[in-house]
């Protein structure tokens, strides 16, 4: 196997702020909580951090999806870096990690602080937040093609993909609901999760219909919180306190039409060719994955990723998921072991990155996957946004 550069990088520390449905401190303060925890976990100090990356960067719109950008964190922590970046137009939220790999490869830096901060719980209490459009607004850019059609939320746009997937695959609502039920079951074992009260499939089916086929419990939960990881050069990582977690392979491509309406792979989203790229960069195969932290902005994202990563064939997720036992903590392929965005809170795929490391380092306590998991698969996003990577603990 080619010695691709991501294999020379590692995650050496993780941190996460309190995640809540309404924070008692600012988004920047949450970010500093997560960053300092990650730096300390890696056995580093602020002075060691010489790279800084985030997705998507300061949106400066008060909607909570990205209230904190790289400059604010760099200045607050007085970091002196050889490289820094945000990157909103990239392979989903993991673009910040992929860019950090490149920056380390180029020799700009050795230890990159990567963070993702959301403040969507607070934003929603004060404004029409996270809306694609507001009534009467003039819409610029690629979303102008949706502008007049009362598409107020990503859930409407994504429902177009999900409804076609449901039509082609024949998956039942009861099977889709297993993703939500599984998340809640795992969240009940995670003290940091925001929703921990057990959920039955009947609860799921009784949740309000938003936009077919989506119900409320298909959707992730807006929260306030920040997650941070340290991505380091593997040469440095070998001398650091935590067992080595290497980045084994990445999927960063976009080989479809990059459009929310013209995307060729409407029902599978942009994931298949992204997954193909990742598997082409490793000798590992889907059967080698011990734990899968799969994006769950909506339940259907996770279902799409189960197929597109090759854990089962096209339109076979309904049989793979079945009654949910295979994807449970004790199953063959534990998924979203902390509760995912559906129950632990919408940390926008970075909760999953944090959790993958928790599992690989054996820190999961009541929710720890048995059998000393060594390989984790991570995925993010939907529509034309897709990114994935594999982590391996040595």
């Amino acid at each position: 196997m080619t010695d691709y550069w991501e294999k020379k990088t590692a995650i050496t520390g993780i941190g996460q702020s309190k995640v809540s449905r309404g924070a008692d401190k600012s988004a920047l303060a949450l970010t500093i909580d997560a960053a300092l925890e990650a730096i300390a976990d890696a056995g580093l100090t602020r002075a060691d951090i010489d790279g800084l990356a985030t997705w998507p960067g300061d949106a400066a719109n008060g909607a909570g999806i990205a209230d904190v950008g790289a400059p604010a964190v760099q200045d607050a922590l007085r970091l002196q870096v050889g490289w820094y970046s945000n990157c909103s137009e990239t392979a989903g939220q993991f673009g910040a990690i992929f860019n950090a790999i490149g920056a380390i490869a180029a020799g700009y830096c050795r230890h990159v602080l990567v963070f993702r901060t959301v403040y969507e719980a607070t934003a929603r209490k004060t404004s029409f937040a996270n809306a694609l459009f507001k009534p009467g607004q003039r819409v610029y850019g690629q979303f102008n093609w949706f502008a007049p059609y009362h598409v107020y939320s990503a859930s409407l746009q994504q429902s177009l993909y999900f409804n076609l997937y449901r039509h082609k695959s024949g998956i039942s609502d009861e099977t889709v609901g297993q993703i939500a039920v599984n998340g809640r079951r795992n969240a009940s074992l995670n003290p940091a999760a925001v929703y921990r009260t057990p959920m039955t499939i009947e609860d799921y089916l009784a949740s309000p219909r938003l936009t077919s086929p989506l119900r409320l419990f298909d959707c992730d939960v807006p929260v306030d919180g920040s997650a941070a990881i340290i991505v380091s050069h593997v040469d440095a990582a070998r001398d650091m306190p935590n067992p080595l977690i290497r980045i084994e392979a990445v999927g960063t491509s976009m080989r479809y039409r990059n459009s929310w309406t013209q995307l060729e792979a409407l029902d599978t989203q942009a994931q298949p060719k992204v997954a193909e790229m990742m598997w082409n960069r490793t000798d590992l195969r889907p059967k080698d994955v011990d734990v899968a932290e799969l994006y769950d902005g909506f339940t259907y994202h996770t279902i799409n990723w189960i197929e597109n990563l090759g854990f089962c064939g096209r339109y076979e997720a309904k049989d793979f998921i079945g009654d949910g036992s295979r994807i449970a903590l004790e199953g063959d392929l534990p998924i979203n072991t902390h509760g995912g965005s559906l129950s632990a809170g919408r940390m926008h795929a970075y909760g999953q990155v944090h959790e993958a490391c928790v599992q690989l380092w054996g820190r999961g306590d009541a929710r720890q996957v048995k059998g000393d998991p060594r390989v984790a698969a991570l995925t993010t996003a939907g529509g034309p946004l897709a990114g994935c990577f594999l982590l391996v603990r040595e």
């Binding site: 029409f128 809306a131 459009f133 507001k134 009534p135 009467g136 607004q137 003039r138 819409v139 610029y140 690629q142 102008n144 093609w145 949706f146 502008a147 007049p148 059609y149 009362h150 598409v151 107020y152 939320s153 859930s155 409407l156 429902s159 177009l160 993909y161 999900f162 409804n163 076609l164 039509h167 309000p208 219909r209 938003l210 936009t211 077919s212 086929p213 989506l214 459009s259 309406t261 013209q262 060729e264 409407l266 029902d267």
Partner: protein
């Protein structure tokens, strides 16, 4: 719908699409060399690399590729249910238009349903909507 629609900001590329309905025409950009339809309009033909493009009226007929029935009151004044959809035009199946499906019960909308464009004026533009295709007797 009683809720004011958001509207696209018009520019030289998207303007003809959003205003062609004034003359009852759905205008899609087309390569003048190889006849490929180009959407969204870019003034470049990805099939033959020609820069010679123009907006041409299409039949306005298409099929529903996918759709969703919305039930949520995102803002006050929305109807109880409405349909958003992607419609592929009859002339070229990979040209997909986001739209609302109107003039029918949302429960009657289905995949591959034939539809026909109609226009609704909003300020300085004519928004393409689609209704089930009524075949002439």
């Amino acid at each position: 719908m009683t809720v004011t629609r958001s509207l696209p900001a018009l520019d030289l590329d998207n303007g003809p699409y959003w205003t062609g309905g004034k003359d009852g025409k759905l205008l899609i950009q087309r390569c003048q060399r190889c006849s490929q339809y180009i959407h969204p309009p870019t003034s470049f033909c990805p099939a033959c690399e020609s820069r010679d493009t123009a907006y041409e009226p299409v039949s306005g007929r298409g099929r529903i590729v996918t759709f969703s029935v919305n039930y949520k009151q995102w803002v006050p004044g929305l109807p109880d249910r409405y349909v958003i959809a992607l419609v592929a035009i009859d002339e070229q199946d990979d040209v997909r238009l986001a739209t609302n499906i109107v003039d029918c019960d949302p429960d009657d909308v289905n995949f591959d349903m034939p539809v026909q464009v109609k226009f609704e004026q909003n300020e300085d533009m004519w928004v393409p909507l689609f209704a089930p295709l009524r075949t002439e007797p």
